[in-house]
């Protein structure tokens, strides 16, 4: 009965081997690509510094707000508005990292769902009870789009806006709500940063290739952000790619003339992330650009359309940038005067989306965990 025993034991051994592949394999140095170097670079030189910088900007915003609170005039209002724009710009560098605690608390949704829900904001200001943390319907009544409305949308000009805040100075409900929102953004951001600093090592160590490994989460989140957060939200939806023009859906609808600045900032963030460029400065460490260079297959280089996938993706970023540069700072004006250019920018971005979603994810061999597939 040796035969029978051998069969059973080999089956069991193989089964246990295949079960031991876990997510947290330590990455040893060897002749192949060093994925932990990529993760280390992304976490230490991009994610954490970008979050820290964003937090500094938020702190400045809080300071400007308390200045405005104690001394309400046009100057303090304008300072507050300026700092809002600065902070919003730095937000563009971290929205794509919807990972871990950020994902758990719907950080990105609480920070930047637009268009904002004005009637809900008005209800909240007027004393309706509300739960900003746990009620998904309240996500669109907070974060940057809500601030955009409260700082730029309450009147035709800053005098009219200031008037709202001058009412009942000691207990102005609009200012109370604004302060609450900024405090929430601060608190959430602090928690997210704590997550990153506390889980840094664990995140870097998880360099396996299951759906829950860091590398795959980063790749998936990046592609998702480029497709949805960047392409669709900032350009596609307002330009009517899906169904009719929706100029009211531009980012920073009330400030109006910064939609392009924010879009460009987001594209810069995507490019830097892909290349592994440090958040502070121009130094490039390991990024997906390098990993793809390692993985990219040159077998088909005789094919006429072949260029390296990594270079192809980078050039799609710069093509998109060129097209965005042609746009008006104010996307509402752009949509109304010449929407064709918006659509051209969309197409340029779309090229990158296709490359990322098909070629990059395919070549990374990201495992699909939810179902058996024998590859046909």
């Amino acid at each position: 009965m040796r035969f029978f025993k051998i069969f059973i034991s080999i089956a069991l051994i193989s089964f246990s081997i295949s079960c031991t592949e876990n997510d947290n394999q330590q990455n040893s140095t060897s002749d192949n690509y060093d994925r932990s170097a990529l993760l280390t670079n992304v976490v230490d030189n991009i994610i954490i510094p970008a979050h820290q910088r964003f937090q500094e900007e938020l702190t400045l915003l809080t300071e400007n707000l308390s200045e405005f609170n104690s001394n309400r005039d046009i100057e303090t209002l304008e300072n507050l508005q300026l700092q809002f724009v600065e902070t919003y710009k730095y937000w563009q560098h971290i929205e794509m990292f919807n990972i871990g605690y950020a994902e758990e608390i719907y950080y990105a949704s609480k920070m930047n769902i637009y268009p904002t829900n004005v009637s809900r904001i008005v209800d909240n200001i007027n004393g309706e009870s509300f739960d900003l943390d746990n009620n998904p319907n309240q996500y669109s009544a907070q974060g940057f789009p809500a601030l955009d409305y409260l700082l730029f949308g309450l009147g035709e000009n800053n005098f009219e806006i200031l008037d709202i805040y001058l009412d009942n100075q000691n207990d102005n409900p609009t200012l109370n709500y604004l302060s609450l929102l900024v405090a929430k953004m601060q608190a959430n951001t602090t928690d997210v940063i704590n997550y990153w600093t506390n889980n840094r090592q664990e995140f870097i160590n998880s360099s396996g290739n299951s759906a829950s490994s860091s590398l795959n989460m980063l790749a998936n989140d990046f592609v998702y952000y480029y497709e949805k957060g960047f392409r669709a939200n900032k350009i596609g939806i307002p330009a009517g790619v899906w169904s009719g023009l929706l100029p009211q859906n531009v980012e920073a609808f009330y400030k109006k003339d910064i939609s392009k600045i924010l879009a460009k900032e987001a594209l810069t963030a995507c490019t830097k992330f892909f290349n592994g460029t440090h958040f502070n400065g121009q130094f490039s460490g390991d990024g997906f650009y390098d990993y793809l260079a390692y993985l990219d297959d040159t077998n088909y280089s005789n094919s006429s359309m072949f260029i390296g996938l990594n270079d192809d993706i980078v050039s799609s970023f710069s093509n998109a940038e060129e097209k965005i540069n042609l746009l008006d700072d104010n996307f509402i004006n752009q949509i109304e005067s010449n929407n064709m250019q918006m659509l051209e920018a969309y197409d340029a971005i779309q090229y990158g989306v296709v490359r990322l979603k098909t070629n990059m994810l395919s070549i990374l061999g990201i495992s699909v965990d939810y179902y058996d597939a024998d590859g046909d």
Partner: protein
């Protein structure tokens, strides 16, 4: 005349029933285990109950999941597998097993897997084989079984291996070592070989060529008595390797390893049965000598023509792709049900634009509204699914008030690491097309030449 005589002689040859009985038990256990695993992983809900839309096979659009009763269907299949194992009312049980299992497979094209098709084929074959004439509740008289019944199972396995092997003789597999290069390189987390062997270029060629040679030769090595032990060792090694390298292929390696046991001598099968008997303390009497079969019943004689037709179908059907124009891996016309296993790494990005021609408005569909992520992934690179889904979308938007509807696809696909290129002609109104077996002219041809034998 001599050939005819030999023919008759062959069909009159009889063997002891150990092999078929063992096969019956093992097959039932594997099917039962497969179904249980599927059930426990929650796949019934995620694949058959949660999705709002299901992709059907041509002519089988009436086969749909049964809502909450899908569980009942799986239960029926499980029970029939159990009855097959114990050999109680075997014929009824195997017919129910075949029908319920095949029904499950036909419910949604998204989940197509070659080894599920294999289970359907084998269970169909087993309907006609006297698998319960021994070691079962059904067995009353201890009679032998025709030799050809055992051989028919071997033949089925040989067909699978040979077609799988011949399909690997193509330029992507042998010259570019694709898609194994993409897949193996991503397996860096496998202990010992992941970071070393699997990162070497020669490994991809070794695995590709090795796999092709293995598939093509293994049937002959199994048939030959001298090489059989070695061949079976290879079978185990090969399939265990695929299990380790590609965990998602699930039960397939076990089904193949087990099925190859049929090639061995029936004495070995007897020993395994004895072992099972002792293990479960079954009260089954040893049989010294099996009686000869009374071979004259009409029912038994009609089986041979049925199975002959079945095998003619098995031989011809996988070759149907040759009647289509275009690159098979790209268009997938005639790709399924032909034992083309693990030949392509494909990924696609496909979105749909619905146009109301009367009111001149349009809408771009968010696939997430209608499809699960798995369905969207599979649909994105398979033309027949794209067309079926386009029709569903057209119908849906008609109900939503769209008039004079057109549906256009924006589709890009990458095949075996090639840069992605446009897949579906964006100017073709998919809603005006019929889903049929004709050549799909609306697929943009791939700008590369893949040479292949089949």
């Amino acid at each position: 005349m001599i050939i005819y005589k030999k023919f008759i002689e062959y069909f009159n040859e009889e063997v002891s029933p150990y092999s078929l009985s063992l096969y019956r038990i093992g097959f039932g256990v594997l099917v039962m285990f497969s179904l249980l695993r599927f059930w426990l992983k929650g796949n019934i809900a995620t694949l058959y109950i949660d999705p709002t839309f299901h992709f059907s096979y041509y002519g089988f659009s009436w086969v749909k999941p049964l809502g909450i009763y899908t569980y009942l269907l799986f239960a029926v299949c499980l029970i029939s597998a159990f009855l097959v194992i114990i050999g109680f009312k075997y014929r009824y049980a195997i017919v129910v097993l075949f029908l319920s299992f095949t029904y499950i497979e036909l419910m949604d094209k998204t989940t197509y897997l070659n080894h599920y098709y294999l289970v359907s084929c084998i269970s169909f074959l087993m309907i006609f084989l006297p698998c319960s004439s021994y070691f079962s509740f059904d067995s009353k008289q201890n009679i032998k079984v025709p030799k050809w019944t055992v051989d028919s199972l071997k033949f089925m396995i040989i067909i699978v291996y040979l077609y799988a092997g011949l399909a690997k003789i193509n330029s992507d597999w042998l010259i570019h070592a694709q898609p194994l290069k993409i897949w193996l390189r991503a397996k860096y987390m496998i202990p010992l070989i992941g970071e070393t062997l699997l990162q070497q270029n020669f490994s991809y060629y070794l695995f590709s060529w090795g796999g092709m040679i293995y598939d093509c030769l293994i049937p002959f090595l199994l048939l030959n008595k001298k090489t059989r032990n070695f061949a079976f060792f290879m079978v185990i090694a090969f399939h265990i390797m695929t299990r380790v390298l590609f965990p998602p292929i699930g039960m397939f390696p076990y089904i193949m390893i087990f099925s190859c046991i049929i090639f061995f001598d029936s004495n070995l099968h007897k020993k395994v049965l004895d072992r099972i008997k002792n293990l479960f303390r079954l009260k089954i009497k040893d049989v010294e000598k099996f009686k000869s079969i009374n071979n004259n019943s009409i029912r038994k004689r009609s089986i041979i023509p049925i199975l002959t037709l079945f095998f003619i179908f098995q031989i011809i059907f996988p070759l149907r792709s040759n009647f289509y124009k275009g690159e098979l891996f790209w268009t997938e016309q005639g790709y399924r049900f032909s034992w083309r296993v693990m030949l392509v790494e494909k990924a696609g990005f496909t979105t749909f634009k619905i146009i109301d021609n009367k009111n001149n408005k349009f809408h771009i569909v968010d696939n997430m509204e209608f499809l699960t992520p798995f369905q969207e992934k599979q649909m994105s690179f398979q033309p027949d699914m794209i067309l079926e889904y386009a029709h569903y979308l057209g119908d849906t938007y008609k109900k939503r008030g769209f008039d004079n509807v057109s549906v256009y696809a924006e589709s890009y696909v990458t095949l075996n690491g090639r840069p992605s290129m446009r897949f579906i002609d964006p100017k073709v109104d998919l809603y005006k097309l019929k889903n049929d077996f004709k050549h799909k002219k609306w697929i943009i041809p791939i700008n590369d030449d893949i040479k292949s034998l089949l």
